[in-house]
C-alpha cells in the first residue's frame, strides 16, 4: 500500500469526509439528490478537495444524462394501421 494513498486517506479521515470509494458508492444517490443533507455536504466537500473524484463524477453524471438526447425512433404509421387490423381480427377470434 503506498504512502501517498495512506496520507490522502488520513487527510479525508481527519476532515470527517468519505473516501473516494465511498463517494463512488454515493454517486447514484448524489445525482438523484436523495442523500441526506449531511452526507450530501460531506460528498461535496470531498469533491472540492479531490480533483480526481470531481472528474469522475462529472463524467458519471454525463453518462446518465447523455442518453436522454438520443434519437427516439417512432413506428411507421402504416405499421400501426396494420397492427390495429391485426389486433381487431385476433380479438374477434377470441371467444
Amino acid at each position: 500500500m503506498s504512502i501517498k494513498h495512506k496520507m490522502i486517506r488520513a487527510m479525508f479521515g481527519l476532515m470527517g469526509l468519505p473516501t473516494c470509494e465511498e463517494v463512488e458508492q454515493f454517486a447514484y444517490d448524489f445525482l438523484e439528490g436523495s442523500l441526506d443533507s449531511s452526507t450530501m455536504k460531506a460528498v461535496e466537500r470531498h469533491l472540492k478537495a479531490c480533483k480526481n473524484c470531481q472528474r469522475f463524477i462529472a463524467a458519471y453524471r454525463k453518462t446518465a444524462a447523455l442518453v436522454k438526447t438520443f434519437q427516439r425512433p417512432m413506428l411507421d404509421p402504416e405499421f400501426k394501421e396494420k397492427l390495429f387490423e391485426f389486433l381487431v381480427q385476433k380479438a374477434g377470434e377470441r371467444v
Binding site: I8, R55, A58, M74, L83, A91, R94
Partner: protein
Amino acid sequence: METLPKSRDFQPAAASNLSEKELIQGLREKADWAFRELISRWSDKLYRLSLRFVKRPEEAQEIVQEVLLKVVEKIDTFEGSSSLYTWLYRVTVNESLMRLRPDKGKKTVSWEEVLPKYESGIHLENFSDWSKLPDEKFVEKEFQQFVQESIELLPDDLKTAYLLKDVEQLPEEEVCKILELTKPAMKNRVHRARLFLRKRIEERYVH
C-alpha cells in the same frame, strides 16, 4: 363519427386522459377505439425499448406486435392489481431478451472489469472528465452508435435496468416493479452500467 385520415388516429396519447381501467374495459369489449388507444399509447414506447435490445427495426416491430397480441389474448385475466403499464414493459423486456438469446456467444463484460480500483479507499487511476468534450461530439451519429454498442455489451441484468431508468427515463418505482427488484438492487444495477459506460467512453475518446 367524423372521418379523419386513418393514420391521424394514432396521435401521441398525451391528449387522452382515459384511465388504464377504462382502456382495459374497452379492450375486453373489443371496442375499436380501445385498440387504437392501446396502439397510440404504447406502441412507440415499446418499439423504442425493444429496438435498444434487438437493433433490427423489423424485429422490434415483431416484438411490439407479439406483446400487444398478448394483451388482447390475456385481457380477461387482468386484475386491477397488476398495472397494464408494468405488465407491458415487463413482457417487452422478456420478449426482447429471449430474442437476444441466440447470439449469446458474444462477449459481455463482467462486474469486476467495471469496478474502479482503490487503495485504502483512494482511487488508483486518474480519471478524465470527458463530459467537457465539445457538445457536438455527443450528438454525432458515430458517438451515439458507440454508446449503443457499449450498452449491448452489458450483461442482461444491467442492460435492462439501465435502459429503463436512464434511456427510457422511467421512475425508479416503476423500474423496480417491472424488473421485480428492490430499490437498492435496481440502483446498484444502474450504477454499474453507468460505471461501465463512463469507462468505455473515456477509453475511446480521451486516451
